[in-house]
Symmetry: none
Subunit: 223 residues, 2 copies
DNA sequence: TTAAATCATTACAATATGGTAACATAAAAA
DNA sequence: TTTTTATGTTACCATATTGTAATGATTTAA
């Protein structure tokens, strides 16, 4: 399993260079030019480490990390920044980083520091399922549609989960009754229709994107 | 429980200074002037972290660490050394250190780096758990809500602790009965409802902040 | 093109679930 | 001992959820 690294760096050239080198090392990367949307991403994706510049537009990087820590995010953080005075470094650590690298930096060293930290930080296996812009967090029991959280009932959640787990098959009503309702002979086929309908309405209220298609005479599948 | 740090440093003045500062921070220290007897000590004592100079009489520090790693010792290691070139640093990490600090160093920064590494390698054995403005002191067995102390019973404490330890997951009543009550088949699900309710009333009597949410048909989680 | 079959949508009722208070019992403290 | 505290259980009510039936739309096939 690839480890995922999230980078917040407002200088686009630097961001690109970093992403290039990290990907070459075998990491997944997610680049951000500012702190906007980062928190959402942390909730939805399984991030192993953050690389954060301190001079960011809008918000100071270390303050941002401090608020993340207060909210309970415990992912590893490395500050990569031009703020290189003793007091800056101390401030950085007090706000919750795991390592502090000053610009200009040696890329090899940074990669080694990342490796060292990732070897220590416990692999948090937050299991997730996704399909297109739907992200199902099985532990938090949440659905995010294009980064926006959507509330689902248990039945709807189980239904969508089954659909995503079998995204390449058309699932018959019988199959769904067995796997989602756990009993195929107590309920009617129509029950599935209504449940699918309700699910559709929740994940795509204005019917702009077609997620679920019905296959005439067979059942339902993701499209 | 105090954390123990083993130091290998051949300059006696530096060793003393380091031990003095580490002890002031509340660590146990064990100083060595060379690598002799260090391995024996690692086997006998419970060492949390090693601070190692690279220029040592008899053996090069990073090579020594490399042999330790090969023998299966996995304690955290920080090199503190005058060998400060890029290639030296890279070599240090490749031989298995967790952090690399070059001489002359800033004592405050070193202490912070030690703390950051220990937070990852010797996790919360005696520390605190927190979520938003809730702080659970596992040693003192107390809860502070926004710095104000709130009395909890043992059950309530264990319940909140389990919730915070799994802050990103929805916990089923079954799971909670197993982990908090230690027996899932002797108690009923409703027992959890009532316990959660009592906990809610204690940490937020006027229901102004929502800490615990119930997920219909699934269980409870922090929100 | 038309009729039958299948599906979508809506409204409504039945059911399951959760919150709360009251009570009972056990454990701890006085 | 008595008194207090902690905690499990039960009952009752409010509400979220979900099955079903009714109705209208769509698709298929003769």
């Amino acid at each position: 399993m690839k480890k995922t690294i999230l980078i917040i760096e407002d200088e686009e050239d630097l961001l690109e260079l970093l992403e290039y080198n990290l990907q070459k090392e075998g990491y997944e990367t997610l680049g951000f030019l500012n702190t906007k949307n980062v928190e959402k991403c942390l909730q939805e994706e399984s991030i192993d480490l953050l690389i954060v510049d301190r001079n960011l537009p809008g918000m100071e990087g270390s303050e941002f990390v401090q608020t993340l820590r207060q909210k309970g995010f415990s992912q590893a953080v490395i500050f990569v920044t031009a703020k290189n005075s003793d007091t800056h470094v101390e401030e950085g650590f007090l706000r919750g980083c795991d390592d502090y690298v000053t610009k200009p930096y040696n890329m090899k060293e940074l990669l080694l520091r990342i490796k060292a930290i990732l070897a220590r930080t416990a692999p948090q296996s937050n299991s997730k399922l996704s399909y297109r812009d739907l992200v199902l967090d099985l532990e938090a029991h949440t659905l995010h549609v294009n980064t926006k959280e959507v509330e689902l009932t248990k039945l709807e959640f189980d239904l969508l989960r089954t659909l995503i787990e079998n995204k390449h098959s058309v699932l018959s009503r019988e199959f769904l009754l067995e796997h989602v309702w756990k009993s195929d002979d107590f309920f009617q086929d129509k029950t599935v229709n209504v449940a699918i309908n309700r699910l559709k309405a929740k994940i795509d209220p204005i019917r702009e994107k077609e997620y679920i298609k019905s296959v005439w005479g067979v059942g339902y599948s993701l499209c």
